[in-house]
Amino acid sequence: MCSNCTGISCSRPSRKRVDMEICRRNDEIEISELDPFLAELLRQIPASTDPEGVSAAEERLFSPPADPKETEICAEWKLYVNPELRRLFQTATETVAADLEQLRGNEKTFANRTLHIPSKHAEAWLSALNQARLVIAAKYDFTDGELCDHHRSPIGSRRDLSLFQVNFYGFLQEFILRELNGWDKEPDG
């Protein structure tokens, strides 16, 4: 592992030293040594941003701009701003989906795949990851306690897996935020 890489091991039993490596190389983020499970979670980012008719998720992505008593503002917002926001979110998701085409293939080939995220796509990734986290959290109505519970194994229930997904995407967000900050600086090593 290079000195500027972060290695990730899932808490579940694994014979591998790391299940994923993530680092910045020049003007891109490189995710390599991908475990098939984590690769699948990455591939699910675009689909996870879809509220799928779950009103709580839809309401979270398109939250009201003011108290409902401010009927004029809220009505105008729905009419003019929400469609613009929808386009903004959709564009970000499409960019991420295009990047994830690099992971196309069956599980066996994931192990050797490396995902490259160009620096100019970092904002889109931040947005898509945030959309996905908010939608999943709204769908499962996670409590504050659950969201702070990073010990929970993803192997248990669909709910546990979704909580793991929220945390995994949060980790990626943190890494991208860090790299956005230091993009002008040379990576160590």
Binding site: C5, I8, L61, P64, A137, R152, L177, G182
Partner: protein, 148 residues
């Protein structure tokens, strides 16, 4: 608002390299502050005290100006707590949208986290709507409220 991730806060993962602080971000305001336009003139008439009818001076006309922002003040941009958005992400958004320095952005982020809400800006409704729109674009829970 979720806790910021550090080496040992994401226990589900084992980070094998020391985590670098995320708080060095810089942001640029999307709008430059525009000099407030002087638009209101308030006229006051002063009559000297204890002055008899014969000593009344011509009224003094004092001009007082108030900025446009003052006149249309009763709106504020409020950001509300959200258990999902990351603290570092919220700080970055405040820096970008409002052009706040990191310390000020962190202060507001912590206020949101601890008190449930923070007033990020107050002024004219139109500009407030633009800020709220931007904050929604970053998926923060933000509303426009009448001040007071």
């Amino acid at each position: 608002m979720a806790a910021a991730t550090g080496c040992n806060t994401w226990v589900g993962f084992e980070l094998t390299v020391a985590y670098v602080s995320l708080l060095d971000m810089t942001g640029k305001p999307l709008w430059n502050e525009v000099a407030a336009e002087k638009i209101v003139t308030v006229m006051r008439f002063f009559v000297p005290r204890n002055a008899g009818p014969s000593t009344v001076d011509e009224p003094t006309i004092e001009q007082e100006t108030r900025s446009k922002e003052d006149v249309d003040l009763p709106w504020q941009v409020v950001v509300h707590n959200d258990p999902v958005n990351l603290m570092t992400y919220v700080t970055m958004v405040f820096q970008r949208v409002f052009g706040y320095p990191r310390e000020k952005a962190e202060h507001h982020m912590l206020e949101v986290h601890q008190k449930g809400r923070s007033i990020l800006w107050s002024g004219m409704r139109e500009r407030g709507e633009l800020y709220v729109q931007q904050l929604h674009g970053y998926l923060l829970l933000a509303t426009l409220e009448k001040a007071g």
